[in-house]
Amino acid sequence: MSGLALEIGLALLMLGVFAVGTVSHGDDRRLAGLLSAVGVLALTVGSFFLEPSPGGGRDAFVLDGLALFAKQLFLLATFIGILGSLSLPDPAFRRRAPEYYLLLLASLLGMLTLASARELILLFVAFELMSIPLYVLSGFLKREAEAVEAALKFFLVGTVSSAILAYGLSFVYAATGTTALAGVPPALEAGDPLLVLGLLLVLGGFGFKIAAFPFHMWVPDTYEAASTPFVAWLSVAPKAAGFVAIFRVYLEGVGDRVVLWVPILAGLAAITIVAGNLMALPQQNAKRLLAYSGIAHIGYMLVGLAAVSASGTAMILFYLVAYVFGNMGAFLVVETVAQAEGSVHLDALRGLAQRSPLLALAMLLSLLSLGGIPFVAGFWAKLYVFWAAAQAGLYWLVLLGAVLTVVALFYYLIVAKRMYIEAPQRPGRIAVSPPLALAILICILGVVGLGVYPTPLVELTIRVANGLF
């Protein structure tokens, strides 16, 4: 079954990493990481040779356009994440590299499957496979009190959300009488209250994964304490997976009844945007800042979701790609600076433009992209999402989002101020390890490339999204 090629390939890769882990000894076992990077890259490249097959029907596992697109996105993000992780200085990441990468890949396997899952059990298992390694990974620096605490919080919130998700899925199952997602549209058509209840509960579960307000509360703590490259990856890949799952459950094949979700999603989008942006304002820790800004971004994606249309879905996909590049770029620059300065406080970025102009430029571009400024990817992302919402007539939401963008720019500009306006605390360039530099480069190329010429990707996402409706 060629549909499973990527998953099988990944499983083989995990086997290889596992083997390396058992074979290698000593304090530096990063060979596993290298192998993972190469493997994921190979899978990424390979994924572009796969042909999507039309989905639909009652297949539990489909490789339609959406699935393939999502998988490519996960693979790419993981590749960047692994590149970023390769130069992590803490001994734990060297000595325990096989565990680290194996867990990462396990979670990736969960995402890949989740993107294809059209069946409740598969969905749930994939969701859990994605989540459980993340709890471990976020506490990977297990001798640091913060990391462990973050892992516990992440775990507790995550498990409760899993319980809610499972509970919701049980109601969905009750209403449809089948575990296939194909049973959802007819049941929705019938207006079964159990289905509505189930889907609302499921939304709570997914809300945790995508970190929508108020399910977001684990995010800042986890981001602050966990290792930055992992967080960079955590902040994009699982969220993307969450969105794909949402598309599958709430939009695929639902037809007209889809408008049922508009008020809830629009409301969720609104409070997420507002809360995320406001809470980001007073942050002085770069990672926390990015965490809250990430929450706000989820809000913007929810704006697209609230449009419950093919274009809205397409624009979320586009947004996700832009977000992968922009957000990972920003996190990785923070990591680079942190490795040199030993701090992720915003003060560490002071005068970066005069110390390492290119690094500062990379950060600036990432931030501008996140802020939604023209000529970088994020602008189109926001624009397209707004466009989709405007199509759906949600002008109030567009206006709210646009106005809150200004608040967001405030804290992005504060970072820009540190880098460009303030004088450096210390002289000297900041050393960047090659893999990290490569990762940042990929992100920036993505940000600028999409900013300058977004059309092909937009067309692709629209094609992909049209398959859902």
């Binding site: 516990l152 919080k153 507790l156 919130v157 409760v160 959300s161 809610i164 509505v196 209840l197 609302l200 509960l201 939304l203 709570g204 809300g207 945790f208 929508a212 307000f213 108020p214 399910f215 977001h216 509360m217 684990w218 800042p220 703590d221 008020p263 809830i264 409301g267 969720l268 809360a275 942006n277 406001l278 809470m279 980001a280 304002l281 007073p282 942050q283 809250y292 608040v407």
Partner: protein, 611 residues
């Protein structure tokens, strides 16, 4: 034979060329005397053109010559044009302006010989600009163009009053002059705008034609003409906007002679004369003009009584004489008013230049620091006396005829009370002018240094003007005058008698000391104090400026910074504070995060109930 239009353009263009050269070619300007020579030559050319124009005018077949070019294009023809309009009034006025400008500039070469070369260059640049502007005003063919040049002469006045800008008084006086005249100009421009909206044109010819044909819509015309008249009030220093003129004496004396006596201040009178066909449609405004003119004349005369500064006396007398002209216009004696404008231009320029020669010689403006100067500078004394006699209205000097004509005109116009005020002013004028003459030239006193008559470059203009003052008068005395005095025959003796009485009284008081000036002052103490304090008008305006305008600006500035902008800052501070508050829900306790999840769940469910 050069046609009138070309001549007018030449008269206009020469000073402009000189100004542009001086403004752009910095080395020439910094050369000082060369700049002066260029400026004088240019205005001399203008004078020549003006004279030819005057002598050859009217051209055959037309009593007006008009040239026009589009200035503000608009759909369906120009919204406004620029051009020249020459008629007999403009031609005569042109000669006066060019002549006085020429003489004053010449005089300035001597008067300002101590100035540094760049300053002198600047001075003549301004003068060229003034000559251009004033000629442009005279030749203006429409209200808009007149307003443009009207403002430009105001600008020159401002620049020249502030010529010695390092002197705080000069700086203050310049700004004050600008502000006060500008206040009047607000009315002028409002009037123009309203008139355009009413009549659809700015052009004098078109407007006069409409007035002739009775096609001019009369609704609101009174208001319009009143507003336009306000411009004249400011420029011609009519009550209550006369306060800037005495202060304007801080400028160099030749400037006072040219701008603040002979030409610019007369622009208001010229404006009313020019627009007379329109004013004729609004008799109510004319009556107002007459009353205000007469009142200004009397008020300024009383103020002139108590001044110690020779130039200020002359300044008040200028206000007073302008009041005469306005009164004449208001009474319908437009010819008399314009005639007085011309004669006054000559003898007041003469007086100022004479005063300038005195000041130049003794180094002070204070008449009490002068005395017995006639012996030291007899030429100056003679020309000053000529000017004074003309101003006082003594036969056969020019002022006698023009003033007579005005008195007659006002009487005929039925403005009895203004007539009485003007008659009283005749007495006062003679008194305060001869007060100056006696104190400065004849009475005991002591002037510092060694005063002497001015050099030829200053003396020449003085004698020229004196000659003209006397000459024009004698011409009228012999020829019976072009401007007939239509009034009853008792007016001439009355005015002459009043003037002579004034002279006699001044002689008694200041020469013979038979009457004590102090005692006089004590007798009319309230009036004396009021005159000393300029009837508190300056204080009133100062109060309005500081209390109303600056006070309002302080309030608005406060509101802007602390209320309007304060609200903006409040919004941003609240946003930040809101963020700070909101992030406190992020307590760090895992269970509070779980509450978050539970709340989210409830939120979603409740929300779906609602929709």
């Amino acid at each position: 034979m050069i046609d009138a239009g070309t001549l007018a353009l030449a008269a206009l263009g020469l000073p402009f060329g000189a100004f542009v050269l001086l403004a752009v070619v910095a080395p020439l300007r910094r050369a000082g005397r060369a700049a002066g020579a260029l400026s004088v030559a240019a205005v001399g050319g203008s004078l020549l053109a003006a004279l030819i124009l005057w002598r050859t005018f009217p051209e055959a077949g037309a009593d007006t010559v008009e040239l026009a070019w589009s200035w503000l294009p608009a759909e369906g023809g120009a919204l406004a044009t620029v051009g020249v309009l020459v008629d007999s009034v403009a031609a005569v006025m042109l000669v006066l302006v060019a002549l006085v400008s020429f003489l004053v500039q010449l005089y300035s070469l001597g008067y300002l010989e101590d100035e540094t070369a760049p300053a002198l260059g600047r001075y003549f640049a301004y003068h060229s600009l003034f000559a251009f502007s004033m000629i442009g005003l005279v030749l203006a063919s429409n209200f808009l163009q007149m307003f443009i040049f009207w403002e430009l002469v105001g600008l020159c006045s401002y620049l020249l009053i502030g010529f010695w800008y390092a002197k705080p008084e000069a700086a203050r006086a310049a700004v004050k002059a600008f502000w006060v005249t500008k206040a009047g100009d607000l009315g002028f421009i409002l009037g123009i705008v309203l008139l355009w909206a009413q009549a659809g044109t700015f052009g004098f010819s078109e407007l006069f034609k409409m007035a002739d044909d009775k096609t001019l819509p009369l609704g609101g015309l009174s208001l319009i003409m009143f507003l336009i008249y306000l411009g004249a009030v400011g420029k011609s220093a009519q009550f209550p906007l006369h306060v800037w003129l005495p202060d304007a004496m801080e400028g160099p004396t030749p400037v006072s002679a040219l701008i603040h006596a002979a030409t610019m201040v007369a622009a208001g009178v010229y404006l009313v004369t020019r627009a007379y066909p329109l004013f004729l449609q609004t008799p109510d405004v004319l009556v107002l003009i007459g009353w205000v003119g007469a009142f200004s004349a009397l008020l300024a005369a009383t103020l002139g009584l108590v001044q110690a500064d020779i130039k200020r006396v002359l300044a008040y007398s200028t206000v007073s004489q302008l009041g005469y002209m306005m009164a004449a216009l208001g009474a319908g004696a437009v010819g008399a008013g314009f005639f007085h404008l011309l004669t006054h231009g000559l003898f007041k320029a003469l007086l100022f230049l004479g005063a300038g020669a005195v000041i130049h010689a003794v180094g002070t403006n204070d008449i009490w620091k002068m005395g017995r100067l006639f012996g030291a500078m007899p030429q100056t004394g003679i020309v000053f006396l000529v000017g004074t006699l003309a101003l006082a209205g003594i036969w056969p000097f020019a002022g006698f005829f023009s003033k007579d004509a005005i008195l007659a005109g006002v009487w005929e116009g039925g403005l009895t009370v203004p007539f009485l005020m003007l008659a009283l002013t005749v007495f006062l004028t003679a008194f305060y002018m001869f007060r100056v003459v006696f104190v400065v030239f004849f009475a005991t006193g002591h002037a510092e240094g060694h005063p002497h008559d001015p050099p030829l470059v200053m003396g020449g203009p003085l004698w020229t003007l004196a000659g003209l003052t006397a000459g024009v008068g004698i011409l009228f005395a012999v020829g019976g005058g072009g401007e007939e005095a239509h009034g009853p025959s008792w007016i001439s003796p009355l005015s002459l008698g009043l003037a002579l009485a004034g002279i006699a009284f001044a002689w008694l008081t200041y020469q013979r000391r038979a009457v004590s000036a102090e005692m006089l002052a004590r007798r009319v103490r309230p009036l004396y104090v009021a005159a000393l304090r300029k009837f508190w008008l300056d204080d009133l305006y100062g109060g309005i400026y500081r209390g109303v305008i600056l006070g309002l600006s302080w309030v608005v500035g406060w509101v802007d910074r602390y209320l309007v902008d304060g609200l903006v800052n409040l919004a941003s501070a609240w946003t930040m504070r809101g963020g700070d508050r909101l992030r406190r829900i992020q307590t760090g306790r895992a269970q509070d995060y779980l509450y978050g999840v539970a709340f989210g769940l409830l939120l979603v469910i409740v929300w779906s109930y609602w929709h």
